[in-house]
C-alpha cells in the first residue's frame, strides 16, 4: 500500500465514557496509540478526516501526536450499535522495515466459467490474513474467478499474492466456490415439511389406546 495519510491527533487528557461521549459530539473520535514498547497514549482524531481516509483505503497513517509524527496502522475499529459511526480506534506504531500481520479484503474479479453453466459463485471468506512489510501492504487481494467451473473452489493457498506478502490464514481456507443453486422452496413445500407443532422436550407422548377385541 503506497498510500499514507497525514493526520493530526491531540493527546486526550480526560478518559472515561462520559468524556469520550462529549468529544464524539464535537466531531472527534477517541483512540489509543500503542506499540514499540512505549507507553500507550490516549488520543483524539478528527472523525471526518479519519473516516474519509478509511473509505479511501488508507490503513497506514502518519499521525502527529504531541509534535512527533509516527507511522501507525489501524489495528481495531469500534462502531456504534448501528455500525454508522466509529466510536473508538486502536492505532499501532509501526516501522517501515517492520513486518506486520494484517487482514485485507478479498476482491473477486471476473465472471466464472461455471456461471454460464447455471452455477453461482459464492464467496465464503471476505478477508485474508497476511504478513508483509508495512510499505508493501496491499489494499486488497484480487482473486480471479474466471477459470472457476461448477463444483470447483478456490482456497487461500491457491491465491497468487503480491511480492513480499506471505499468507498467514490456513492455506486450506475456502475463499470462493461455484455451484448450482437448487430452486428455492415454495412456502407450500416448506409448510409440508414442517410439523404443525414442535416436539416438547420431556413431554410424554400419548400412546394410542389398544383396540379391545
Amino acid at each position: 500500500m503506497d498510500k499514507t495519510l497525514l493526520l493530526e491527533a491531540q493527546i486526550r487528557e480526560h478518559t472515561g465514557s462520559k468524556a469520550a461521549a462529549r468529544v464524539r459530539k464535537q466531531g472527534q473520535i477517541p483512540g489509543i496509540v500503542y506499540g514499540h514498547k512505549q507507553d500507550p497514549v490516549a488520543i483524539l482524531l478528527n472523525a471526518h478526516d479519519f473516516s474519509e481516509g478509511l473509505h479511501h483505503g488508507h490503513r497506514l497513517m502518519d499521525i502527529t501526536v504531541g509534535g512527533k509524527t509516527e507511522k501507525m496502522i489501524v489495528k481495531e475499529l469500534q462502531y456504534d450499535h448501528l455500525g454508522r459511526n466509529i466510536v473508538h480506534v486502536d492505532l499501532m506504531r509501526v516501522d517501515v522495515t517492520e513486518a506486520v500481520r494484517v487482514s485485507v479484503p478479498i476482491e473477486l474479479k471476473g465472471t466464472a466459467k461455471g456461471t454460464h453453466e447455471g452455477g453461482i459463485v459464492e464467496q465464503h471468506a471476505s478477508q485474508l490474513e497476511i504478513e508483509c512489510l508495512v510499505t508493501n501492504m496491499p489494499e486488497s487481494i484480487v482473486v480471479s474467478v474466471k477459470e472457476l467451473g461448477v463444483g470447483q473452489a478456490i482456497h487461500a493457498g491457491e491465491v497468487a499474492l503480491p511480492e513480499g506478502v506471505t499468507l498467514v490464514s490456513p492455506p486450506e481456507m475456502l475463499l470462493a466456490a461455484c455451484h448450482v443453486v437448487a430452486a428455492a422452496k415454495t412456502t407450500e413445500e416448506l409448510e409440508a415439511e414442517t410439523p404443525v407443532a414442535p416436539e416438547v422436550i420431556g413431554e410424554k407422548k400419548e400412546e394410542p389406546a389398544e383396540s379391545g377385541e
Binding site: L77, Y79, L82, A184, L190, T194, I201
Partner: protein, 139 residues
C-alpha cells in the same frame, strides 16, 4: 407454518420485555450486503417467509439470501367469543425478537444495485423500519 423450532422445552412463553440495542448479529457477516433493523419489534415467521420469497423471487437463482433471524418465541391467543379465564390460550404463531441494529437478512454474490432492490423488497415485508448496510472495513 414456515419457520419454527423442531423441539422446545416449553410450549408456551410469557411475553417478556425488550430493551437496549443488538449487541450481536449487528454487522454483515455472511453476504456482502444486509438489511438492518432500526426498531425494537417482534418479527413473525410469516414476515420472515414473505421476505424470503420476495428476495428469492427477485434474484432468480442469482446470488444467495441469508436469513439471520429465527422465530423461537411462541405467541398464544384465545379463541374468539371465549370468556376470560380457563387458562392461557394455545400457541398461534412464532416470532423472532429483534432489537435495533440486528441484521435480519443478507445477500451475497450480486451487485450492489441488485442487492439494494432485493433488500428493499424484503424491507417492505417487515413490520418495522430497516436500512441497507454494507460490510464493515477490514482492518
Amino acid at each position: 407454518m414456515a419457520m419454527m423450532p423442531k423441539r422446545v422445552k416449553y410450549r408456551k412463553s410469557q411475553r417478556g420485555r425488550m430493551k437496549g440495542n443488538a449487541t450481536r448479529s449487528n454487522y454483515v457477516a455472511f453476504g456482502e450486503y444486509g438489511l438492518q433493523v432500526l426498531e425494537m419489534s417482534w418479527i413473525t415467521a410469516k414476515n420472515i417467509e414473505a421476505g424470503r420469497v420476495a428476495a428469492t423471487h427477485f434474484l432468480h437463482r442469482e446470488g444467495k439470501v441469508y436469513i439471520r433471524v429465527f422465530p423461537s418465541k411462541p405467541v398464544s391467543s384465545k379463541p374468539l367469543e371465549t370468556r376470560m379465564g380457563k387458562g392461557k390460550g394455545e400457541p398461534e404463531f412464532w416470532v423472532a425478537r429483534v432489537r435495533p441494529g440486528q441484521v435480519c437478512f443478507e445477500v451475497g454474490g450480486v451487485t450492489e444495485e441488485v442487492a439494494r432492490e432485493a433488500l428493499a423488497r424484503v424491507a417492505h415485508k417487515m413490520p418495522i423500519r430497516c436500512r441497507f448496510v454494507r460490510r464493515r472495513h477490514a482492518v
